[in-house]
Protein backbone atom coordinates (compact mmCIF):
# COMPACT_ATOMS: atom_id res chain seq x y z
CA UNK A 1 0.00 0.00 0.00
CA UNK A 2 1.21 3.47 -0.89
CA UNK A 3 0.06 6.43 1.21
CA UNK A 4 -0.43 9.93 -0.14
CA UNK A 5 0.35 12.47 2.59
CA UNK A 6 -1.82 15.58 2.68
CA UNK A 7 -0.76 19.06 3.81
CA UNK A 8 -2.09 18.83 7.36
CA UNK A 9 0.19 15.85 8.17
CA UNK A 10 3.20 18.13 7.66
CA UNK A 11 1.60 21.14 9.34
CA UNK A 12 0.78 19.10 12.45
CA UNK A 13 4.47 18.23 12.83
CA UNK A 14 5.66 21.78 12.40
CA UNK A 15 2.92 23.37 14.54
CA UNK A 16 2.73 21.40 17.77
CA UNK A 17 -0.77 22.49 18.70
CA UNK A 18 -2.48 19.25 19.57
CA UNK A 19 -0.40 16.54 21.24
CA UNK A 20 -2.39 13.56 19.91
CA UNK A 21 -2.22 14.56 16.26
CA UNK A 22 1.40 15.69 16.64
CA UNK A 23 2.33 12.23 17.95
CA UNK A 24 0.34 10.43 15.23
CA UNK A 25 1.97 12.43 12.43
CA UNK A 26 5.45 12.13 13.92
CA UNK A 27 5.09 8.34 14.19
CA UNK A 28 3.87 8.23 10.61
CA UNK A 29 6.78 10.26 9.22
CA UNK A 30 9.27 8.23 11.25
CA UNK A 31 7.86 5.08 9.63
CA UNK A 32 8.21 6.70 6.19
CA UNK A 33 11.81 7.61 6.94
CA UNK A 34 12.64 4.08 8.12
CA UNK A 35 11.02 2.75 4.90
CA UNK A 36 8.46 0.82 6.93
CA UNK A 37 5.69 2.37 4.87
CA UNK A 38 5.73 3.76 1.35
CA UNK A 39 4.61 7.37 1.07
CA UNK A 40 4.33 10.06 -1.57
CA UNK A 41 3.20 13.65 -1.67
CA UNK A 42 2.91 16.26 -4.42
CA UNK A 43 4.01 19.75 -5.40
CA UNK A 44 0.47 21.02 -4.80
CA UNK A 45 0.78 19.91 -1.15
CA UNK A 46 4.10 21.72 -0.76
CA UNK A 47 2.53 24.82 -2.31
CA UNK A 48 -0.42 24.70 0.05
CA UNK A 49 1.86 24.14 3.05
CA UNK A 50 3.87 27.17 1.93
CA UNK A 51 0.76 29.39 1.60
CA UNK A 52 -0.52 28.28 4.99
CA UNK A 53 2.77 28.78 6.82
CA UNK A 54 3.29 32.20 5.26
CA UNK A 55 -0.21 33.65 5.34
CA UNK A 56 -1.84 31.95 8.33
CA UNK A 57 1.11 31.38 10.64
CA UNK A 58 2.92 34.49 9.36
CA UNK A 59 6.38 32.98 9.28
CA UNK A 60 9.05 34.53 7.06
CA UNK A 61 9.75 33.45 3.48
CA UNK A 62 13.16 32.08 4.52
CA UNK A 63 11.51 30.01 7.25
CA UNK A 64 8.81 28.76 4.83
CA UNK A 65 11.53 27.72 2.38
CA UNK A 66 13.42 25.93 5.17
CA UNK A 67 10.32 23.98 6.26
CA UNK A 68 9.44 22.96 2.70
CA UNK A 69 13.03 21.86 2.15
CA UNK A 70 12.64 19.78 5.30
CA UNK A 71 9.60 18.02 3.82
CA UNK A 72 11.39 17.26 0.55
CA UNK A 73 14.45 16.19 2.55
CA UNK A 74 12.57 13.46 4.41
CA UNK A 75 14.08 10.09 3.56
CA UNK A 76 11.67 7.67 1.88
CA UNK A 77 9.20 10.35 0.79
CA UNK A 78 8.66 10.69 -2.96
CA UNK A 79 7.25 13.77 -4.67
CA UNK A 80 4.92 12.89 -7.55
CA UNK A 81 3.14 15.37 -9.79
CA UNK A 82 0.65 13.72 -12.13
CA UNK A 83 -2.79 15.27 -12.35
CA UNK A 84 -5.87 14.60 -14.42
CA UNK A 85 -7.11 18.19 -14.78
CA UNK A 86 -10.38 17.19 -16.46
CA UNK A 87 -11.25 15.19 -13.37
CA UNK A 88 -10.13 18.06 -11.08
CA UNK A 89 -12.61 20.45 -12.69
CA UNK A 90 -15.39 17.88 -12.49
CA UNK A 91 -14.80 17.25 -8.76
CA UNK A 92 -14.37 20.94 -7.94
CA UNK A 93 -17.38 22.00 -9.96
CA UNK A 94 -19.74 19.31 -8.72
CA UNK A 95 -18.68 18.64 -5.14
CA UNK A 96 -18.33 21.09 -2.30
CA UNK A 97 -14.61 20.52 -1.73
CA UNK A 98 -11.45 22.59 -1.60
CA UNK A 99 -9.57 22.93 -4.89
CA UNK A 100 -6.42 21.25 -3.56
CA UNK A 101 -8.46 18.29 -2.32
CA UNK A 102 -10.00 17.95 -5.80
CA UNK A 103 -6.52 18.03 -7.34
CA UNK A 104 -5.28 15.29 -5.00
CA UNK A 105 -8.37 13.12 -5.59
CA UNK A 106 -7.88 13.46 -9.34
CA UNK A 107 -4.34 12.08 -9.32
CA UNK A 108 -4.56 8.84 -11.35
CA UNK A 109 -3.21 6.55 -8.59
CA UNK A 110 -5.47 8.16 -5.96
CA UNK A 111 -8.53 7.95 -8.20
CA UNK A 112 -7.81 4.28 -9.00
CA UNK A 113 -7.45 3.67 -5.23
CA UNK A 114 -3.90 2.37 -5.63
CA UNK A 115 -2.85 5.07 -3.16
CA UNK A 116 -4.61 5.90 0.10
CA UNK A 117 -4.90 9.57 1.09
CA UNK A 118 -3.73 10.30 4.65
CA UNK A 119 -5.39 13.42 6.04
CA UNK A 120 -7.43 14.86 8.89
CA UNK A 121 -9.55 16.69 6.32
CA UNK A 122 -13.10 15.32 6.44
CA UNK A 123 -13.73 16.69 2.92
CA UNK A 124 -12.15 13.51 1.54
CA UNK A 125 -15.37 11.74 2.57
CA UNK A 126 -17.09 13.52 -0.32
CA UNK A 127 -14.52 12.35 -2.86
CA UNK A 128 -14.23 8.88 -4.47
CA UNK A 129 -10.91 8.00 -2.81
CA UNK A 130 -9.47 5.69 -0.18
CA UNK A 131 -8.84 7.88 2.85
CA UNK A 132 -7.51 7.31 6.37
CA UNK A 133 -6.54 9.57 9.24
CA UNK A 134 -2.89 9.44 10.39
CA UNK A 135 -3.77 7.62 13.63
CA UNK A 136 -5.34 4.78 11.69
CA UNK A 137 -2.07 3.98 9.91
CA UNK A 138 -0.33 3.67 13.25
CA UNK A 139 -2.44 0.61 13.95
CA UNK A 140 -1.35 -1.05 10.71
CA UNK A 141 2.25 -1.36 11.91
CA UNK A 142 5.09 -2.53 9.70
CA UNK A 143 4.76 -3.07 5.98
CA UNK A 144 3.71 -6.61 5.13
CA UNK A 145 5.99 -8.53 2.72
CA UNK A 146 3.13 -8.62 0.20
CA UNK A 147 3.18 -4.81 0.12
CA UNK A 148 6.78 -4.74 -1.05
CA UNK A 149 5.98 -4.25 -4.75
Amino acid sequence: MVYFLDTNVFLRILVREDEKSFRECKDLLEKVKKLEIEAVTAGIVLTEAGWTLGSYYKISRAAVAEKLEGIVGLGGLKIVDRYDWGRVFKFYGELNVKLVDAVIAAMPEVFKKEWTVVSYDEDFRKLPVKWVKPGEIRKLGKKAPSDAS
Binding site: T7, Y57, G70, G73
Partner: protein, 53 residues
Protein backbone atom coordinates in the same frame (compact mmCIF):
# COMPACT_ATOMS: atom_id res chain seq x y z
CA UNK B 1 24.61 11.76 9.33
CA UNK B 2 21.95 9.35 10.43
CA UNK B 3 20.56 6.05 9.28
CA UNK B 4 17.80 6.57 6.64
CA UNK B 5 18.57 10.29 6.37
CA UNK B 6 19.13 11.89 2.96
CA UNK B 7 22.51 13.39 2.07
CA UNK B 8 23.79 15.89 -0.49
CA UNK B 9 26.92 15.01 -2.45
CA UNK B 10 29.15 17.90 -3.42
CA UNK B 11 31.90 17.18 -5.95
CA UNK B 12 35.16 19.02 -5.30
CA UNK B 13 38.65 18.84 -6.82
CA UNK B 14 39.58 15.21 -6.13
CA UNK B 15 37.11 14.76 -3.31
CA UNK B 16 33.41 14.35 -2.65
CA UNK B 17 31.81 16.10 0.30
CA UNK B 18 28.84 14.32 1.87
CA UNK B 19 26.50 16.56 3.83
CA UNK B 20 23.41 15.45 5.81
CA UNK B 21 20.06 16.98 4.82
CA UNK B 22 17.92 18.47 7.57
CA UNK B 23 14.44 17.00 7.37
CA UNK B 24 11.02 17.89 8.79
CA UNK B 25 11.57 15.59 11.78
CA UNK B 26 14.38 17.95 12.85
CA UNK B 27 11.90 20.84 12.75
CA UNK B 28 9.06 19.53 14.89
CA UNK B 29 7.16 22.24 16.76
CA UNK B 30 9.19 25.09 15.27
CA UNK B 31 6.11 27.08 14.19
CA UNK B 32 4.13 28.77 16.96
CA UNK B 33 0.45 27.80 17.10
CA UNK B 34 -2.12 30.60 17.00
CA UNK B 35 -4.11 30.78 20.23
CA UNK B 36 -7.80 30.10 19.79
CA UNK B 37 -7.48 29.06 16.14
CA UNK B 38 -7.32 25.40 15.18
CA UNK B 39 -4.60 24.18 12.85
CA UNK B 40 -7.23 21.99 11.24
CA UNK B 41 -8.99 25.13 10.03
CA UNK B 42 -5.80 26.66 8.64
CA UNK B 43 -6.11 25.15 5.16
CA UNK B 44 -9.73 26.23 4.78
CA UNK B 45 -8.80 29.73 5.95
CA UNK B 46 -6.02 29.95 3.38
CA UNK B 47 -8.32 28.83 0.55
CA UNK B 48 -10.76 31.61 1.45
CA UNK B 49 -8.17 34.33 1.96
CA UNK B 50 -5.46 33.51 -0.58
CA UNK B 51 -4.39 36.43 -2.78
CA UNK B 52 -1.48 36.73 -5.18
CA UNK B 53 0.49 39.87 -4.39
Amino acid sequence: MELYGKVVLEAGDGYIKVKPVKDILDMTGTVNPIKGRSALKARAWVEKHYRRT
